[in-house]
Amino acid sequence: MNKKILSAVVGAAAVAGMGAAPASAATLDDVKAKGFVQCGVSTGLAGFSAPNDAGDWSGIDVDLCRGVAAAVFGDAQAVKFSPLSAKERFTALQSGEIDVLSRNTTWTMSRDTQLGLNFAGVNYYDGQGFMVREALGVSSALQLSGASVCVQTGTTTELNLTDYFKANDMTYNPVVFEKLEEVNAAYDANRCDVYTTDQSGLYSIRLGLSAPDDHMVLPEVISKEPLGPVVRQGDDQWFNIVKWVHNAMLNAEEMGISSENVDEMMNSTDPNVMRLLGKEGTFGEGIGLGNDWAFNVIKMVGNYGEVFERNVGDSTPLGIARGVNALWSKGGLQYAPPIR
């Protein structure tokens, strides 16, 4: 009790904001009332969430938010984006400033259980890696003892880095910044020998460096980083919507339904396809949406494979292979529960 009072007394200043936050109100109703989904994204990570030169956001994480908007409104453009730093992201979601956080965020137990948040799935299986200058002549992360390492604060990366160097009995000098752009600039200016973050992020960041070809990503993956969308705890309906938008995109890929052939697929007599596209059953109504929710998602955003290919796949400068992010039926980890 004592502890509780003390924590509250010093927290009195934060009260006004907390009081106003719709801690357990129905997010779906709020979203419908305001007419758009407020989506928390990164401040710019190519392939995941980054604005293009026209100011439109694109990326895997962005497409998940567009999918949610398509399911709720039948309009994939009914999204507003809030660029957030790693440090700001959870507070923004807790306070109700955003409806869903889709910002290459690693699903960990403490985040899932202690922050009042829920992870609604994994839209990218990642792992932490290291990037170095080729001129250093390093070929393995185990040769990095004594190096200066650039890292962003408020990330699981910071902790994995510590654990990895400790486990391998190596020393390093951390150089920690709050914003991604600051880390990028410091690494580019040779303030550090090593840049560490999720491997997908390294590929994306490498493209933005002044001389991308001078840098290489080391082969070691030192951690599990399941990245996924996050919602507030205590609103199961909204949690279900976000979770099943992601699952619908996976199921669509598995059934071979894409944004191009979804109209033809409406004529399909396969009961699996009919259930997904809303011709059979009332699955949409079950989560508070129209029965054409999945149809809209696939039609306007595409299936998971399309989203992956469009944003980070071989046709993009990132050129990331599907790898563990392939469907389970093709040797990967992406597996969605069936719609029935």
């Binding site: 003390l6 007394v9 927290g11 604060t153 910071e158």
Partner: protein, 402 residues
């Protein structure tokens, strides 16, 4: 008039006037009501916060302080590893903030006084240079200045590999984009005598000063206290150094692997922050010093000259003591500003309190309410301590009015 009469009656014989009209009773009631209202507001706020945190399922309390931090910090003044607790990480951040604050205040004050005096110089070049310094640094936002020092000046220095040329070679002095490398003094057996010698010299200086003052009051004779003291401060430690057989070794930095190893390292983040804070605040201090000196009327100088005091003594005994009472109070504000502005360190990656505790710890624990409140309390405490010290100092130097 009527009102005044009423007050008098009330004071003389309060029994006859109803409590409604008694100003004392009324004042008491309103103050009590105000206290109740404020207490109710605080109480409702506190319970609201507790309820909301509990309903949102967010962990609360201060138990996290004892947990393992699990992250590393680039600059630590006290022993710290990733196995240390969050509490220790907090102290590392606090000390990093304090060290940049204290050194910053020291450097800013010196530069500020020099520039402030230079603005009053009769030398055209010196005076214009000081004016340009003040006007440029005072009018550019501090954050931009920090970024300038960090990104435009320090980060374009050569990398350690380029700076060192060869691995393993010891280097006495190197400035590269990983920091400023200087030789480190390593004390060996018997080195403590040197420390005692320094203390002894300082004590001797103090007592000679007291003795000289007393003698001057009694006999009017002067004694060169400063020169004697400085002489002692140099001679005694050197003697101790020689007597004990030169027990100090120098450790040099050398390139090993990626970085320079050994020696005494000052990180570029610290240098950039210190430069930015000190130079920026010094421009304000310079103006305060100039204002303080100009506030002493010209007649004081003339009167002093008329008494036959030389210019040097005039400024030391007449002008500066009077200027100080004008300078100290606004100087305190500048010291407070400097300490608080050091929180901009987060922009250039210096591990200060806000960066370590308000950044990393907040994120690892997710306990924003507790962490931010503590951070605010710490800055409040630092500021109050600085002000208390400066108020004490002010009362020491302020003129005793007779």
């Amino acid at each position: 008039m009527a009102h005044q009469a009423g007050v008098e009656t009330g004071a003389d014989d309060s029994g006859r006037v109803s409590l409604m009209n008694d100003p004392k009773a009324r004042g008491f009631v309103f103050q009590a009501l105000l206290i109740v209202a404020v207490a109710a507001m605080v109480w409702s706020g506190v319970t609201n916060a507790i309820d909301n945190l509990a309903r949102a399922g967010i962990a609360s309390g201060f138990g996290f302080f004892g947990e393992r931090a699990g992250f590393d910090i680039g600059q630590t003044l006290i022993p710290y590893t990733n196995d240390s607790s969050y509490l220790r990480a907090f102290f590392v951040g606090l000390l990093n903030t304090m060290v940049v604050g204290v050194i910053g205040i020291f450097v800013a004050t010196i530069i500020g006084f020099v520039v402030g005096l230079a603005r009053l110089s009769k030398n055209y070049l010196v005076q214009k240079f000081a004016t340009v310094y003040v006007e440029v640094l005072r009018n550019v936002p501090l954050l931009l200045q920090l970024l300038f020092w960090y990104k435009a000046v320090l980060s374009i220095l050569p990398s350690p590999r380029e700076a060192a040329q060869e691995a393993g070679v010891e280097i006495a002095f190197s400035i590269n984009n990983r920091g400023l490398y200087l030789p480190r003094v390593v004390p060996e057996n018997g080195a403590s005598l040197i420390g005692y010698a320094i203390v002894a010299a300082l004590l001797a200086w103090f007592f000679i000063g007291r003795w000289a003052k007393k003698r001057q009051i009694e006999t009017g004779q002067q004694f060169p206290v400063f020169l004697t003291g400085l002489g002692l401060l140099i001679v005694l430690p050197v003697l101790a150094f020689l007597v004990t057989g030169m027990p100090l070794a120098l450790e040099y930095a050398s390139l090993q692997g990626f970085n320079m190893v050994g020696g005494w390292v000052i990180q570029p983040e610290f240098m950039a922050l210190l430069l930015g804070l000190a130079l920026y605040t010094a421009s304000f201090i310079a103006e305060i010093v100039r204002a303080g000196i100009l506030a002493v009327s010209r007649g004081q100088t003339e009167a002093s000259y008329a008494l036959g005091l030389r210019p040097n003594l005039t400024s030391r005994l007449v002008i500066v003591p009077q200027a100080m009472r004008v300078i100290i109070p606004p100087l305190t504000s500048q010291f407070l500003n400097l300490t608080k502005n050091s929180s901009l360190a987060v922009a250039i990656g210096y591990p200060d309190l806000v960066s370590i505790f308000g950044g990393t710890v907040l994120n690892q624990t997710g306990q924003a309410v507790e962490v931010i409140s503590i951070t605010m309390l710490v800055y409040l405490a630092l500021s109050l301590l600085t002000s208390a010290f400066m108020n004490w100092f002010n009362s020491r130097v302020s003129l005793v009015e007779r």
